[in-house]
């Protein structure tokens, strides 16, 4: 039953992707209302899925790679709903939806929904650590999306080739301000996630700690580079994309390690 909710949610996000593609092809790009509605509906079904799964498990649904990917997709959609309109970046829906679709389709197709034979006991610190870290990943994903938007807009301005999408993307300075804010929010949440990991009452695998600190350091360097103006906005945008790609790969690694050496 819960997987059907996820399929419906994926269809909603896919509708936003298809709608955007059709409008882009026709040279008419007005995805604001439709995308926000489609992403909103998809988010409701995601929430219903996570709620059902959480109820079934009796804890935060982060017990395998499948749930981690869905939780991450949910975080991305939630942060988009929260900050997208606030930063006048509603168009982010056009960029957010494909990422969520990729995450959810992968989670649905890959054989990664492996249930633990025994019911895992609740551990509030561990659940807080895992969920806050994934919300931070969601924020980094949005920073990555804003980075893509920045590079698309920048490229059009540099080459003087302005497409229909140009007039719907936010101004460069607004996008860069959004990237900076998202980086800071993500960094603070990720730091909280790492610190809370040390309160779980169990020794953490070394590879996880190293990977987590690696991601933390990478984002610390980007933020510092931005703050001290070593890095031009274009490079910050590009690093947001690289940073999130690295973080996502390491997240896979961390979750994979946890499944081999599960925490109690």
């Amino acid at each position: 039953m819960d997987r059907y909710l996820l399929i419906v949610s994926t269809v909603c996000f896919l509708a936003a992707v298809v709608h955007t593609a059709i409008e882009l092809r026709a040279g008419v790009f007005r995805p604001m209302r439709f995308n926000f509605f489609a992403v909103g509906l998809g988010f409701i079904f995601q929430t219903a899925f996570l709620s059902l799964r959480g109820h079934e498990l009796g804890r935060c649904p982060l017990t395998n790679l499948f749930e981690v990917f869905i939780f991450l997709a949910w975080s991305v959609a939630a942060i988009y709903m929260l900050v997208g309109p606030g930063y006048r970046l509603s168009l982010m829906g056009a960029f957010t939806a494909p990422l969520v679709v990729i995450l959810q389709v992968f989670a649905l197709i890959a054989p990664i929904d492996i249930r633990h034979p025994a019911k895992l006991p609740a551990n509030p610190w561990l659940e807080f650590h895992a969920s806050i870290s994934l919300v931070a990943y969601g924020v980094f994903a949005l920073a990555c999306i804003a980075g893509v938007m920045y590079l698309v807009q920048e490229r059009q301005l540099k080459t003087h080739q302005l497409h229909s999408i140009f007039y719907h993307l936010p101004p460069l300075t607004d996008l860069f301000a959004a990237i900076t804010r998202l980086l800071w929010w993500g960094f603070v949440l990720y730091t909280l996630g790492i610190v809370s990991g040390f309160f779980t009452g169990h020794p953490l695998p070394r590879v996880q700690v190293v990977a987590a600190i690696g991601v933390w350091l990478l984002y610390a360097v980007i933020i510092q580079g931005r703050h001290l103006r070593w890095l031009a906005p274009k490079r910050v945008a590009a690093l947001c994309i690289i940073g999130f790609s690295v973080a996502l790969t390491l997240l896979w690694g961390i979750t994979f390690t946890t499944e081999i050496h599960p925490l109690p």
């Binding site: 008419v28 540099k158 860069f176």
Partner: protein, 356 residues
């Protein structure tokens, strides 16, 4: 009763012909002189049109005579190719005009304002009755819908508006932007004015002749800067508009590179409208610098127009839907009135279905 429009536009005649018509005529004078029940005169730099509702048929020549500046000239002698659209075609034409599909610059926004002004003026003089009232109100609705639901007005098509559009895409709010106008030419003045109209408040003008710089600064509400200081100003400004008569580039990589190091996170938008160019084209390769010369501005304008042209079919579809609906609603009104035997004021001035 007849609804029709006659007119001249940039499609049919040149400006020398258009300027012979519409001078002192008003909607009121047309009603009086041509013996029609309602009239509305729409005159812009690109067209002279009269929309008429009359109980009897009025010839094009009669209306043309009302429009002529020199009343002693016979329109037959002059014989400009006035177009005439009757009933449904008239409705279609007005909707296309109001939606700027018939304009010289496709999708421009001025025509709607001009049509509203013409309507208001005719209404005040009493030349507009229920039929033209309904027709024009619907035309305004159609124009709004076309602008909202298509990209017909998207993008900019003149140097000034392209500059403003691009500046807004880079900086968002222009009220916080600092602008330097280098060279006090006519195009830079127009561009500066366009930026000021969008909220730019910090505008500096530099010119080889300080007097001319002061004059332009005063006109556009900025301040003059000595020509020797213009390079130093580039450290502070966000937008540079340059149009000097210099034979060699004024702004080169060597001059700009040290300044950019100090303003790494602030973009610099340069509009170089000088020929020969004032800015070395390689400057565009520098990080955070967006250089547009006259050719690239023209290219952006052409891209905007191409984008607008793509939208014509969608706009025409909206218009066609409204024309059908408008004609149907008029016909329904007539049928209802004939069934009830009542003749409300609107039906008296409405169109016969046969005429549509």
């Amino acid at each position: 009763m007849n609804l029709f429009c006659i007119g001249l536009s940039h499609h049919t005649v040149d400006v020398a012909t258009r300027e012979q018509f519409g001078g002192s005529a008003t909607a009121e004078s047309i009603v009086r002189d041509a013996g029609c029940t309602e009239a509305l005169l729409l005159t812009t730099c690109n067209r002279v049109e009269v929309y008429v509702v009359a109980l009897k048929r009025i010839s094009t020549d009669e209306i043309a005579r009302c429009l002529m500046r020199k009343i002693d000239t016979d329109p037959h002698d002059y014989a400009p190719p006035f177009y005439r659209y009757e009933a449904e075609k008239c409705v279609l034409h007005l909707f296309r005009v109001a939606s700027a599909l018939d304009s010289m610059v496709l999708g421009e926004s001025e025509i709607l304002g001009q049509a509203k002004k013409a309507y208001e003026s005719a209404r005040k003089s009493g030349a507009v009755g229920p039929c033209l009232h309904r027709l024009f109100q619907r035309a305004f609705r159609v124009a709004k819908q076309v602008r909202t639901h298509t990209e017909i007005a998207r993008g900019a098509v003149s140097v000034g508006s392209v500059a403003v559009d691009l500046a807004q895409r880079i900086f968002g709010k222009l009220s916080v932007c600092k602008v330097l106008v280098l060279g006090a030419g006519e195009t830079s003045e127009r561009t500066a004015r366009a930026l000021v109209s969008r909220g730019v408040s910090d505008l500096r003008v530099s010119n080889r002749s300080l007097d001319r710089a002061c004059e332009l600064a005063q006109t556009v509400g900025g301040r003059a800067v000595p020509f020797d200081d213009w390079a130093a100003q580039c450290r502070e400004i966000d937008i540079l508009i340059t149009s000097t008569a210099s034979e060699t580039p004024l702004l080169t990589l060597d001059i700009l590179a040290p300044m950019l190091r100090e303003r790494l996170d602030r973009p610099l938008f340069i509009i170089d409208i000088a020929v020969p160019r004032d800015v070395d084209p390689r400057v565009n390769e520098m990080e955070g610098v967006y250089l547009y010369d006259i050719d690239s501005i023209r290219s952006v304008a052409e891209q905007s127009l191409a984008l607008r042209r793509q939208q014509v079919a969608a706009a025409e579809a909206i218009i066609a839907e409204h024309v059908t609906d408008f004609v149907d609603s008029i016909s329904r009104g007539l049928n209802r009135d004939s069934q009830t035997g009542q003749h409300p004021s609107l039906s008296e001035n409405s169109l016969r279905p046969s005429e549509l």
